[in-house]
Amino acid sequence: MVNVVTSAGQNGVHDFILVRASAIILVAYTLMVAGFFIISPSVTHDLWQSFFANMIVKVATIMALLALLVHAKIGVWQVLSDYVKSALLRASLQFIFSVTLLVYLVFGFLTVWSV
């Protein structure tokens, strides 16, 4: 019997695909925001706010935060399981980082919600 040591998906293959699928969303979002800065010579408050008031940008932001939750959850798990040998410490750190990532999601959601 092989122990299943996986972080977000049901198995290693699932994790592998989740990291890559979320990465593609994060690249697309990064390019979108970078594109905004490239085509806007000077970013004013009105311009900045109208960009995030756009429904497409709101949905993209929340999608990116969901992708980040999955992507970083697996990434943190990979790093912790390589370097932290104590099971208690590893689980504690994993918990703290997972909660932090959830806070990011909710915080970002409320931020774009209120624009």
Partner: protein
């Protein structure tokens, strides 16, 4: 079964080739990003709440400390993204040989440095 093979895990005696440097930088930049996202989200939230908040962030960005923090976040993001794209290309079967892998590793690091300079110039 116990294999009697020579094992060297002393990192100080191991010569890092370009692909190894690209790999560890990807990991380091990933860990930095976990914290950087928090800073970027705080910046986003404050700048979107009100005109005062936006001006506040602009004021922070005039200071060298916050500017450097934001530069660090964007530079780490740039590296993580570029190295991630390299990974995706390797998943598709490209640049998997020793020499081509090292070439793309060098290219990734050079491209990262160039884009970082561009971001630095844009911020300052």
């Amino acid at each position: 079964m116990k294999k009697q093979r020579p094992v060297n895990i002393d990192l100080t005696t191991i010569k890092m080739h370009p692909a190894a440097n690209a790999s560890i930088l990807h990991r380091v930049s990933g860990v930095i990003m976990v914290f950087a996202i928090g800073i970027l989200l705080y910046t986003l939230s404050t700048s979107l709440t009100s005109a005062e908040g936006f001006a506040q962030i602009q004021g922070y960005l005039d200071g060298i400390f916050f500017k450097f923090i934001i530069f660090g976040c964007l530079s780490a993001l740039t590296y993580h993204l570029l190295a991630g794209v390299r990974h995706l290309m390797m998943d598709l079967g490209f640049f998997e040989e020793l020499s081509s892998g090292n070439t793309t590793a060098k290219l990734t690091i050079i491209l990262w440095l160039v884009i970082s300079v561009v971001i630095g110039v844009w911020l300052w």
